[in-house]
Assembly symmetry: C2
Homo-oligomer: 332 residues x 2
């Protein structure tokens, strides 16, 4: 498909310039090295929270920068890790002396570059803890080998909880431990009806036969882990949710935060129809959805598809979820 | 393209059920007649604000229901007006004795049904004022004949300002007058790269040659008013913005609220690139963007395209824009 683009190689920088022009009261773009920070920095003495990763997943991560969530986000090129230099500069910029938490989606390049930046920052006297997000159930390894599960839409939950804890004055160890707990109890599953296309390239990143859908797709245009017959929204929602419930081992009396997430070009009507079924399945299992989001939060360019994320919740996590937040994408 | 759908004829009801399940603290769905109201009604004695129209434009209108904006929204079928019966029931439900403002996009069916409902409500002793939104510059009639300009994304601005005025305790005449002033000083222009598709129907509502785009499209899958050569994001943005500036007769020293709106499947990256150019053009003309939104707010199913809306702003309108709001789509 065709796109609104000038120079495909400049789309990320142009988009950041446009976002800063639109939301000067929320964000500031540091052009070189490129990162996006809060327009009004957090009060001194708080743990700082930083995330980042490839672009093409908007509103993640830049849309999550603001009071109560991220202090800064480091955008890479489309579907490519930011550099260690960018991450280091952002880490130094947000550091307020109480340490910095890096929220990192589990991809080899991201993990490597965030680790390098953390090591250099440590030499500068900035203590960094990494919270690794690895919620994508489709990439569970049976043998435990390989890079492990990918990080996808649970990143929103981790960033919200971690940001709220930092804003409440928790110390570095506590903020990081909370993030790790959220990541450990979050799982996601995605399905694509059609792949997205890179800026400047009209071709989708993979083709699907008319009668099949791709399950277990990630958020980088990669193929999924298996094809299934195209089916009704309810049937596809069943195939997303039931493995999550099984893997999290949740049942009657358990509580979750749920995200029914659009991967790009799926309409809000469709997402709400999917979420209806998610809610029905969980209610039938005696599981309470404490809080939910329905919409495009972690996208894969204009992929047609959706994912469902469930995070086990308790009173503490719900209170942190409900704490005030003011970003482009989440605000309450 | 394929969609997440069970029964295409039930998609609106199923989506409303899903949204209510996701956001029980914000909205309540009245199933029959169908309308969506605030979960926590506004304090007694306030002017009530009601809107509605065809579905397929999500997050409009249901996503704008909440404190500081709409008291209720009345969804029709996809691209079809709600019935007068639905509108009347919602009007009666939200009426708190201080009158009700109907925010209506200028389409024949919507206007007719809202007028019928207003007349019947008047017989019940409920005073209703209609604010007609007619911002789509593409449908300006040279002769003044016909139904006049269509209502599109300026609806968001009108609903925000009117809702803020009602929440601040303004009386019915004042709230309606403010809404009319916003509508009168708002203009929008849209461009499509590809038409959207109705639920259950994989075919787009119109086809475009590879080297052309459609200017002046509305939000109902209708053809636009003219085709132009496909061009860069900046060139297309120029063609959207310059007519708005000319028609509003704004220039150096003037102030606006701007919305760079996605029509469905356009990525946030692309919208931000468009907004960058909008900001550049306006800055060069000496026009200040006081507040902006960049994202999908008034969609046309999964149309690939965008629109730009400009509303003349002054201190009063900016203050009402900044007033607290808590809905699914807008919250601050």
């Amino acid at each position: 498909r065709r796109q609104f683009v000038n120079d495909p190689d400049a789309i990320v920088e142009e988009a950041l310039e446009g976002l800063e022009a639109a939301y000067p009261r929320l964000i500031r773009w540091n052009r070189d090295p490129s990162f996006v920070a809060r327009a009004t920095p957090a009060p001194a003495g708080q743990v700082a929270v930083l995330s980042g990763g490839g672009s093409g997943h908007e509103p993640l991560h830049v849309g999550m920068v603001g009071a109560g969530m991220l202090d800064a986000a480091v955008p890479g090129a489309v579907f490519a890790s930011p550099t260690a230099g960018q991450i280091l500069a952002a880490t130094q910029a947000v550091s307020g002396g109480a340490g910095v938490v890096h929220v990192v989606k589990n991809y080899t390049g991201d993990v490597l570059n965030f680790e390098i930046a953390a090591e250099v920052a440590a030499d500068d006297g900035i203590e960094v803890r990494q919270v690794l997000v690895d919620d994508d159930l489709a990439t569970t390894s049976a043998t435990g080998d390989g890079p492990g599960r990918r990080g996808t839409a649970a990143t929103v939950v981790v960033e919200k909880i971690v940001g709220a804890a930092a804003a409440a004055g928790a110390d570095l160890a506590r903020v990081a431990a909370l993030g790790q707990r959220v990541a450990a109890t979050s799982r996601s599953m995605a399905v694509a009806l059609a792949a997205g296309a890179h800026p400047g390239d009209p071709r989708p990143s993979f083709d699907l036969p008319r009668d099949e859908v791709e399950f277990g797709v990630g958020i980088h245009g990669e193929r999924g882990v298996g094809r299934r017959a195209f089916a009704s929204a309810d049937e596809l929602a069943d195939l997303l949710v039931r493995p999550l419930v099984a893997d999290l081992a949740i049942g009657r009396g358990d509580r979750v935060i749920a995200i029914t997430n659009g991967l790009g070009s799926t309409t809000n009507l469709e997402l709400a129809v999917i979420h209806r079924r998610v809610a029905t399945i969980l209610a039938a299992a005696g599981i309470t959805i404490e809080r939910a989001l329905v919409g495009p939060y972690v996208t894969s360019l204009d992929m047609a598809g959706c994912s469902v994320t469930l995070t086990r919740a308790d009173d503490e996590l719900v209170a942190l979820w409900d704490a005030p937040v003011r970003t482009i994408a989440l605000s309450w």
